[in-house]
């Protein structure tokens, strides 16, 4: 396959390509919920797979959770195997605030973000003395403990114990949201239109509305994290990861930045928790246990540690791989159904394969393909 020809970085053509890229991305993000409002379900090799809007929304929550983990582990190199703890705390905080104080979902972020930031900082303080594998060991154990903390007698009344908490608030699209109008327009377009229903049922409308809310929260998170990482803080974190002694010698305050990274990381994790609570209207203790902690690591590595779009791929992977695996009723050529634990096994295998063949994750793969198809010459230094 031939590429698009080399363009110099920063040139008009390069800029134009970038703009076209982003516009396409925006278009896809906006159109998708309408296209799959009636669950998209392709049939491959006799198996019916679904791409539901609900699953996609949940994947968006996972993307933000991985984004949070990425700050502590991908960017500042502190192995955290217990990020589910922060995600779970955010989710439960939201659930309790909505149920007991009748806050709206989004307003709980006002408590979740600073609360989890502080929590992360508190957590980061001991992490200063505990490094590398030891930190991994500690966080691994912490992840396993979250469900039993939720089930404690002392907090059972609040958290619902083993039964979890149904959140008593519906997300209903406000009357000004033109979701139905857009649906009708799209339906009228010849060709594509046939995929779009000619009007949304109230359940579909709720799902589409939730999707857009989650997309907006996610975009804000990614944008904020991108800006933080592009600046002083990001440079300091990467310096600490790659060469702690050198960074310290250059006056980077290791302790402050490491703690800060844990704080930000936890806050973003908390937001992910809020998003997941919004998505499902329910929180249960075992959702946020050690299984999720490992899933997040899988997502981080599969997508690509230390990159932002890796979190997007990772979120999609950990949501859809197990789903599609369990929908594989007959594996081609055999009559095996890949139900239940197969999904986890496949994720585990994916994790190992990625570490072996593409240690930079999917992000590295994309970069390679992009460099092949749309080469960009680096800008020559100006003299």
């Amino acid at each position: 396959m031939r590429g698009l020809g080399v363009v110099p970085a920063g040139s008009r053509q390069h800029r134009r390509r970038q703009i076209i890229g982003w516009a396409l991305f925006a278009l896809v993000v906006v159109l998708i919920p309408f296209l799959i409002a009636d669950t998209y379900s392709p049939t491959i090799f006799g198996n019916r797979y679904t791409v539901g809007l609900g699953n996609l929304s949940q994947a968006i929550g996972m993307m933000v959770a991985i984004l949070g983990l990425n700050i502590a582990t991908g960017y500042s190199g502190q192995l955290s195997l217990g990020h589910s703890f922060f995600v779970g705390s955010g989710a439960y905080l939201t659930a309790v605030l909505v149920n007991e104080f009748h806050w709206s979902y989004l307003s709980t972020l006002g408590v979740v973000v600073p609360g989890l930031f502080l929590f992360g900082v508190l957590f980061g303080l001991p992490a200063l003395r505990i490094q590398g594998l030891y930190l991994g060991l500690l966080t691994f154990a912490v992840a396993a403990v979250f469900p039993s903390i939720i089930r404690l007698d002392e907090v059972k009344d609040r958290t619902g114990g083993s039964n979890g908490l149904q959140i008593e608030s519906d997300l209903v699209a406000p009357s000004w949201a033109p979701l139905n109008t857009v649906t009708e327009w799209l339906h009228a377009i010849p060709g594509v239109g046939s995929r779009v229903p000619d009007g949304l049922t109230s359940r579909q409308e709720e799902a589409v509305y939730k999707y857009f809310l989650l997309v907006i929260v996610a975009l804000v998170c990614f944008w904020l994290v991108r800006n933080i990482l592009a600046g002083r803080v990001g440079r300091a974190l990467v310096a600490i990861r790659d060469n702690p002694l050198g960074a310290a010698a250059n006056g980077v305050n290791l302790a402050a930045y490491k703690t800060l990274s844990f704080g930000i990381s936890a806050a973003v994790g908390g937001v992910a928790g809020t998003m997941l609570a919004m998505h499902s209207g329910f929180v249960g203790p075992d959702e946020f246990g050690f299984a999720m902690a490992i899933l997040l690591i899988v997502g981080l590595i599969v997508g690509g540690a230390g990159t932002l779009h890796g979190a997007v791929v990772g979120g999609l992977a950990i949501r859809f791989v197990p789903e599609w695996s369990s929908q594989t009723q007959t594996l081609p050529g055999t009559d095996t159904a890949l139900e239940g634990p197969y999904g986890t096994a496949i994720l585990g295998a994916l994790l190992i394969i990625i570490i072996f063949v593409l240690p930079g994750g999917a992000a590295q793969g994309f970069r390679r393909i992009k460099a092949r198809l749309m080469p960009v010459a680096p800008q020559p230094p100006r003299g």
Binding site: P126, R129, L137, L138, A141, V145, S148, I294, G343, I355
Partner: protein, 313 residues
Amino acid sequence: MVVLASVLGVFDISLDKLSNGELWLAQFFRGLSDGATYASVALALVMIYKSTGFINFAQGSLALLGVYLAYIFSVEQGLPVALAVVCAMVASAVVAAFIERVFIRPFPPDHVLPLVIVTLGLLLIIDSAVGIVWGFRTRSLPSMFPSGAPIEWGIAQLTWRTIGNLGTVFTVVGLLYLLLSRTKVGLAFRAVSSNLESARLVGIRVGPTLGFGWALAAAIGTLGGALVVPDLLLEPSIMLRVLIFSLAAAALGGLDSMVGAVIGGLVVGLARNLLVTFLDLSELALATAVAVILVVLLVRPTGLFGSTRVERV
């Protein structure tokens, strides 16, 4: 006195319980028995950490696989339990050696992070494979030791099982000590753990030596699992809790000390049983393990017996 009373109040401690000597003794025995099982898995973790510098998060999963095999050999094939356990130890050792060869050896030994992540992947794969093959129905594995208690003081019983668990662990430690200090393969293993480069320079084949370490660790872990499972029910998630307690035990002992792993295991087993009984913290049993890890890492990162070598990450 008032302070004491209020402290007791907060924790729901009843003085009746506290002054019940038999209860103490009963929990002491149970703690030792549990501790012995944690010690076995902790020993396995320490063997890998000592020789390679990373924590094998799949250690519990290898033990899980081993215990299921022991179940198959004993309950389904009708072998005597002890023999079934030995067969399962051998089988899990073979699996572990294979895993080491295929998934671990291709990485340079000092690339700790990818290796840890590979072990997490193995954890996912093995645990779900066990679920796929044997399902999620709970089963019960009989103990290797006779039931009943030769020594009793009221409710405090020193059961055959407790004696057997402790005896097994101390025997294992003794044999391991002899193997490592008196045999050539033991010398090779310790040389590799101590200085990889020099080990290669004296002609030791490092790969097979580490593979041997993995096999041995898996066998010991399986034995630990076979000791603990008769107290619980066998199902695919069983070893996760054991793994957490064993990690705590290994951290307490210093991660690279075998004696430390055993003492750490016994201490964690005792602490868990005493806390759960006297503070009514049954949901927090796991949290005590985390607390142990946290306090050890903060106060004395090298644990009770660990050497002060520099963290390799």
